[in-house]
């Protein structure tokens, strides 16, 4: 893909932009493929690419179609960069009446977000101010539920376990995913297969992952335990002590979530032009230096996104932990999110559960804010 892109770019740059180029961007449906650009424009660009042959044969190869599409898009991008038609665009925009169609299309999505996110948070905020009995509000108690949370040692312990779980998982997932992404970005035989296999854990649900690992790590009949016993001469107890259970849960979580980070980082790596590495090589950099001074700075925004996504995922995770350990033994894996579930639906104290849920929401916002601010400050420097 990178080579194809490079070729198309050179091609488009070598050709002067047509004077009658219309920036109006319409879609031309060709068979099952949609081309951006006007028909004439696509045809003109296709003359030096696969599109011309496509028009003649009506049996295009995927490469031809892709090349023609890219020609159209990139040529347009080039012209926008050069700025040939900016005045026309502005004047056209001024003349054009306000288009209400886009906001109209957005309305269902906004309504859905309101219904399934904003309203429940608001409802939880109201509920957190009440004493509840099962699903009924019994009495308004103001901030009593929050005061109780602040003084309950169970909550403080759960918060510390949440931090251990989140930071512990991140500490393993990030280097692992980056390493895998770097490997998968290299050319090697069966790379496509490797990429597919590596993504597989991501498509398995958390419940299935937890049940699978609960079986694998079971101290009495688990294959991993048996294998470890055969190799080490003793039977490791992966889930039978608070510390070991937390470590095992982190490992399982890493297994379930590293593909997500790997894919994002791989996508980011693929956007780095080879010319930068060539230039760095000419300057005498070695592989590790290229990683440090070229790769990491360029994928830093993606790393920040991955950090935010995974932090929120880990901090809010319930299913995997609940199914794997139930929060035990001795509460050793009972995180804050799991406490919300237990308070709300095992102890049936919805008021306190809602209060705790709100606290978690605030913590999530805080995490996101810290990452974003950190990213911005680095950009500013």
């Amino acid at each position: 893909m990178a080579d194809l892109f490079k070729g198309v770019t050179h091609q488009s740059k070598s050709r002067p932009p047509p004077q009658d180029y219309d920036l109006h961007h319409e879609l031309i449906d060709v068979g099952q493929v949609t081309f951006p650009g006007t028909a004439e424009q696509a045809y003109r660009k296709g003359q030096t690419s696969g599109f011309h042959r496509f028009c003649q044969s009506r049996k295009p190869s995927a490469t031809h179609l892709l090349r023609a599409t890219m020609n159209a898009v990139i040529s347009q991008a080039d012209r926008e960069t050069i700025g040939h038609h900016r005045p026309r665009v502005k004047s056209a925009a001024r003349r054009r009446p306000l288009n209400w169609l886009p906001p109209l299309f957005i309305v269902p999505a906004v309504a859905l977000v309101f219904l399934v996110t904003i309203y429940p948070v608001f409802d939880a905020a109201v509920l957190s101010l009440f004493e509840t009995q099962y699903a009924e509000k019994v009495q308004f108690v103001g901030f009593d539920n929050f005061i109780h949370l602040a003084t309950d040692p169970l909550i403080a312990n759960a918060l510390s376990r949440s931090l251990v779980y989140t930071l512990g998982s991140l500490a393993v997932v990030l280097p692992l995913s980056l390493g895998l992404a770097l490997l998968l970005n290299e050319e090697f035989p069966l790379r496509g297969l490797a990429r597919t296999v590596i993504v597989l854990p991501w498509v398995v649900s958390q419940t299935v992952v937890a049940l699978l690992w609960a079986w694998l790590l079971n101290a009495d009949f688990g294959p991993v335990t048996y294998l470890a016993q055969t190799l080490l001469g003793y039977r490791p107890l992966f889930l039978a002590s608070p510390t070991a259970a937390m470590a095992s849960t982190i490992v399982v979580n890493v297994w379930a979530s590293y593909p997500q980070a790997t894919l994002l980082l791989l996508a980011a790596l693929q956007t780095i032009p080879n010319e930068l590495y060539d230039a760095a090589k000419i300057d005498g950099t070695r592989s590790l230096q290229a990683l440090r001074y070229v790769t990491l700075p360029l994928i830093k925004p993606t790393i920040a996104v991955v950090l935010i996504q995974l932090t929120l995922l880990y901090f809010n995770m319930v299913t995997l932990i609940y199914t794997l350990t139930g929060g035990g033994p001795m509460g050793g894996t009972e995180t804050l999110s799991l406490r919300v579930l237990k308070t709300s639906f095992e102890d049936w104290n919805l008021g306190q559960g809602a209060a705790l849920g709100l606290v978690i929401t605030v913590v999530n916002f805080a995490f996101s804010l810290i990452y974003v601010l950190a990213l911005r400050s680095r950009h500013a420097r």
Binding site: A135, F221, G326, G327, M330, F345, E346, D347, W348
Partner: protein
């Protein structure tokens, strides 16, 4: 005028036909239970037979089953009922009955029970009066279950051990049969499944030591002398290598899987799990049951008794129809159908069926029922009973993993449970 009249008549006939068609449609009743209708579990086959049987037996109602995992069904019912969408008929485990009554998800059955003859009421092996909450009978038992000592006959035979008659003998035999691969005695001591298996193992031994689970005010007294004696016995099993500390991460399902895999020698097991545990090439008929041995040979242990019950949902719009279904479900044909799936019928008259005198399975079930009648003990549990079970599981974990003093561990559990009640 004539045309208008004709049109009106046609419309009236049309509406009449529609009305008739609607009247012929059976009323849909929703039945929520933990049992799936499909699957290899013999109880599922029996349930399907009962549902089909009811739907064919009359034309007024049609019951459809919604199967919800046993760990989620109670929560789902409470939430659905709050939203006005609860079931018509509901399966409730006796340990959760108080919770449903407090959450107002079910209605009293007093008026329906009053219509039954005294003989019919007395026919229940678990008296409906035992299911009274706040003076009202809230459900009727459709099955019953009793806890037994399950053991691997082949393991005991190979180790030249006889079937234990006391708890000391259980511990000794468990220690003898234990190997690197086999745990002599197993129990689920994790908090998974709300710590239910921990309580199921603890309760009969605790009762046998003279313990009472609650005082008059509803506070738990598991930290009594009997509780300490029981927890000490469980802790000693680990010290004697008769039980592995890995039980702290195992729930009821794990223990059953371990038993089927051949890595557990003995366990306290509910009668309803016997069939599934036997259904393995490793265990097969080598899995046998016997009454839970007492602290001494002359003082037998009380048998914990519980039941799956049927009741009517608060939001049901067709309570009479729901009652019709419950009556059918409690009838002898349905009871026999479930008995053939290894379930103990809840009514004495059902045991008159030839099945219980002819087949080995029937004879075994009848033996359990007799045991339940002689030594069965059933206590209505408070609505937050699962919280106590969970605290108890944590106490067992502390004793096993940290070597904590059993008294201190049980005190902590009692304080945590009693504290949240006030």
């Amino acid at each position: 005028m004539h045309k208008t009249l004709m049109s009106l008549v046609a419309i009236a006939i049309g509406f009449g036909w529609l009305g008739t068609a609607q009247a012929e449609q059976p009323i849909a009743l929703k039945f929520w239970t933990f049992l799936p209708v499909q699957g290899s579990d013999p109880r599922s086959t029996a349930l399907k037979g009962v549902i089909d049987g009811f739907n064919k037996s009359q034309s007024k109602y049609e019951v459809s089953v919604e199967s919800i995992n046993y760990a989620r069904i109670d929560n789902t019912v409470i939430q659905s009922t709050a939203a006005g969408q609860g079931p018509d008929i509901l399966n409730v485990y006796t340990d959760q009955l108080s919770m449903h009554a407090a959450a107002k998800t079910i209605v009293p059955l007093d008026s329906y029970l009053a219509a039954m003859s005294p003989a019919e009421v007395e026919d229940f092996l678990i008296s409906p009066n035992a299911l009274r909450i706040g003076g009202h009978v809230m459900a009727l038992p459709w099955e019953m279950r009793v806890w037994l000592l399950g053991y691997r006959k082949d393991l005991l035979d190979n180790a030249h051990q006889k079937v234990p008659a006391t708890l000391d003998e259980v511990a000794n035999a468990a220690a003898v049969v234990s190997t690197d691969q086999v745990m002599g005695f197993g129990m689920g001591a994790s908090t998974a499944g709300l710590g239910a298996q921990a309580m199921e193992t603890f309760a009969p031994i605790f009762w046998g030591a003279g313990g009472q689970m609650f005082d008059d005010k509803g506070n738990t007294t598991i930290n009594s002398e009997a509780g300490v004696k029981t927890l000490s016995w469980l802790g000693d099993l680990v010290k004697r290598n008769a039980m592995k500390s890995t039980v702290v991460s195992m729930g009821a399902e794990d223990i059953q899987t371990a038993f089927r895999a051949g890595t557990v020698g003995m366990q306290i097991v509910g009668s309803y799990r016997v069939g599934a545990t036997r259904n393995s090439p490793t265990t097969g008929d080598n899995f046998q049951t016997t009454p839970i041995p007492g602290w001494t040979a002359d003082k037998p242990m009380p048998a914990r008794l519980a039941s799956q019950t049927l009741t009517i949902g608060t939001t049901s719009k067709h309570k009479d129809g729901a009652w019709e279904f419950i009556k059918y479900y409690l009838g002898t044909p349905s009871q026999i159908e479930f008995a053939k799936a290894g379930v103990l019928p809840s009514k004495a008259s059902s045991y008159q069926d030839p099945f219980f005198g002819e087949s080995s399975q029937g004879k075994e079930i009848r033996g359990w029922a007799d045991y339940a009648r002689q030594r069965g003990r059933m206590e209505m549990t408070p609505r937050d009973f699962s919280r106590l079970s969970e605290e108890l599981a944590k106490a067992i974990q502390k004793v096993i993993l940290e070597g904590m003093d059993p008294k201190a561990a049980l005190d902590a559990a009692a304080t945590a449970y009693n504290g949240q009640r006030h």
